[in-house]
Symmetry: C2
Subunit: 517 residues, 2 copies
Amino acid sequence: MQLTQGLKRARSLYGRRVAVTCGTRNFTWEQLVDRIARLAGALRGLGMQSGDRVAMLGENSHRSIEFYYGPCWGGGVFVPLNPRLSEAEVLAQLGDAEPMALILDPAFAGRAAKFLAEVPSLKAVIVAGDDPAPPPGAHSYEGLVAASGPAADAGRGGEDLAALFYTGGTTGRAKGVMLSHANLFVNAMNTLVNARLESPPTQLHAGPLCHLAAGGRVFTNTLAGGRHVMLARFRPPELLQLIERERVTGMSIVPTMIGMLLAEPSLQTADLSSLRTINYGGSPIPEPVLSRFMAHLPQVDFGQSYGMTELSPIATHLTPADHRRGGARLRSAGRAVAAAEVGIMDDADRLLPSGEVGEVVIRGPIVMAGYWRQPELTARVLRDGWMHSGDVGYLDEEGYLFIVDRKKDMVVSGGENIYSLEVEDAIHCHPAVAQCAVIGVPHETWGEAVHAVIVLRPGHSLDAAAVIEHCRLHIASFKCPRSVELRVDPLPLSGVNKVNKALLRAPHWEGRQRGVN
Amino acid sequence: MQLTQGLKRARSLYGRRVAVTCGTRNFTWEQLVDRIARLAGALRGLGMQSGDRVAMLGENSHRSIEFYYGPCWGGGVFVPLNPRLSEAEVLAQLGDAEPMALILDPAFAGRAAKFLAEVPSLKAVIVAGDDPAPPPGAHSYEGLVAASGPAADAGRGGEDLAALFYTGGTTGRAKGVMLSHANLFVNAMNTLVNARLESPPTQLHAGPLCHLAAGGRVFTNTLAGGRHVMLARFRPPELLQLIERERVTGMSIVPTMIGMLLAEPSLQTADLSSLRTINYGGSPIPEPVLSRFMAHLPQVDFGQSYGMTELSPIATHLTPADHRRGGARLRSAGRAVAAAEVGIMDDADRLLPSGEVGEVVIRGPIVMAGYWRQPELTARVLRDGWMHSGDVGYLDEEGYLFIVDRKKDMVVSGGENIYSLEVEDAIHCHPAVAQCAVIGVPHETWGEAVHAVIVLRPGHSLDAAAVIEHCRLHIASFKCPRSVELRVDPLPLSGVNKVNKALLRAPHWEGRQRGVN
């Protein structure tokens, strides 16, 4: 079970058809596989050994697809990094993953020397622009691909590590989710079962490929022989133009994108008649938003997915047939994909019958191998083969999963998971702060926005703008609070002496339902 | 990747729905899984250790489904045997597989003592009838299931051995095809992708479950949450009644069955409106037969599959959309399933471009682990990960596979693969025979019939009836020649001094195409 096999199959079946469209450029499957084999050859030439990591920091492009396969082809492991992270966060993840090479978008080329100096594992920094001339202190991606011979596939597969995907760490330390070839391959098969394809699709990668929510579709689409259409960054007018120009048949998006598309004037005039399937998931979607979108695209099969990076990433699916039937199950996350069991457990790890609320647990070949170099953290979430999601929910009589609360304190804003503890850590290091709690509050566009509740030390003063300014020094801008509330009284505590965030959230969510995925 | 996981998933999603219908009996998923766990418990109680084999000799019944999962649940390996084999053949396979237990239909109960005496590995013989009282010298299946507690799942999966399926050996020795959990699981996913299910199907198991052509659908249907409807043995009127009574939605059959159904008068009156999908494969189908059947069932999605036991078993698929398009590709075997690569190789194991004829080779997670205890034979067909099918064919520009000759000399009669060398071995041991060659000749009902061409020793005489009678002593009746030709001249030889069977076949196939699957 090798990820690269899907690629070779697509080359064999569709060799001269277009595999990737990126701006005005097109690459056939033969060209794509050739570039991937050359990238693998270049990485081997730079010293990549079996199991070595290769990281990439950049926006979506045809090189993102090559990066999803190239290191694996050469026997390595790919590690996508989020270009929206702060430099300190990127350095922390690089220090943790210890990649032998780092591929950078030209926008980050200026940091090449710094990365080389501060990440001892790095043997090479590669700038992934169109210029084949090597930039100072770095290699040129195009230069390497042109100069290298195609490597033979290293033949890794099955339980061999294929990728590390970083997710924000609740303890402050980022978690590298270890996914094997089998993990990602089985996820692709699960999603292919749900795709019901009659002919090769044209799939728009609208979400950032540094996240597996978008990235998982790369493998599905390759197995389907579909054309990959790249969007560097989500902007509603560009997305609509791209659908029209490239006759896109499918895409996978987060609810926030749906809201932004509905607000985009050109939605009314864009020709979206080519669209056949839209998958969404990753955060709650308000029913009126979904209804309006479905009504605007009556020919489209809508599917919803629930999962997490640790599940490669999709665990349940609400099918197009479920969407057409409508009713209460539209608020569910659907049912277990073919190669997964989904259960609900109580605090003693006993499976609960349908209707009872508990922690959502998942078992099967999609469950990650563990967290990179964090065996204790792994043991905390993987027990008896069951991945403990941290989400709370229940199953109905026919196995439909309803999430009643997501990972308790996580804020999902614009499809990004923001861990409240991480934001709190940033706030806490300001000397004026005595206590703080970060919660998600409703936001029309982003689903939720980060809100901080702060108690100051006696004799200190601080305003909201200063808090946000302070946070920007430590964490990515999208994680910083959008609003700040300063309190005099201590924060309310729960039974186990933790801040009772449910109580803090309650007034903001009055009359609304939070956390139904 | 555990076969039993699909079962647990189905219990969780569909617990109180019917899982198996066998005659007038119905078992829910909860009941089925309970019986399987008890069967596993009973086998452990009888001494089954991890990796131990358990064989079964019987017609299709609800116990066949239990047998597909029970040994695996308890950590063992299931070995289905063909009830149409001669006792000597069964004994040879038992001697090769060395099972710790043998499950017999009541029709074979009289042989329990003989099997126990002649197969030293056997710790128990179990008679799978309805009577809970133990027959002499044997255990009662129902008695064991009633008395045993449900075992915990042993947790085997991935590359662990799940099953041995015997295929006729060209060298006279039967080959036990070793299939892992991952092999059979991935095949189920591949076929699920092609199934395009909107709601759980009702699948009729029309073919014998001792063959993986029929058996593979057991795992697919469980993953789909479908009801298994059992047919003990294929007879057209019973099959049609069963479809009508149980509102069957899908079945998988061989072309011979299609021919027999078309010849069955009650086809015209049977209510087959519930049927949605029919998969066929395993032997050539004459185009007029397929056209007539498709015309009779216009609402049905037809799919064709090509494969072999060594491929778990399905490697290519001709989709319903391909069938609707019609044309020359209706004579193809379709294209590679999602988790497989299909190629054509020359005699030096070099992959050939599309259009060129060579040996059909397949790579991917569906390729068997090897032949049981026959590493040399395994090495002969598995080279560099590619399974060498022994079939000859080509791929067209879009990857459609055309088989131009099947395993050169194999006779496919009524869906059974009959190896000509095995029949020749039987004939050859008659003292009057100097030379012989067995070929397939066209047969209206069976697709092909076994035909023997014999040169007698000088001074000897023999007639056709005596040849057939002699064969019956050595091989199963269905493998014996249906017609015999006695020659005076020596048989024609090919370039490498083998009998030129193509030349022998030619006059029989004049004006017809043989071997297009």
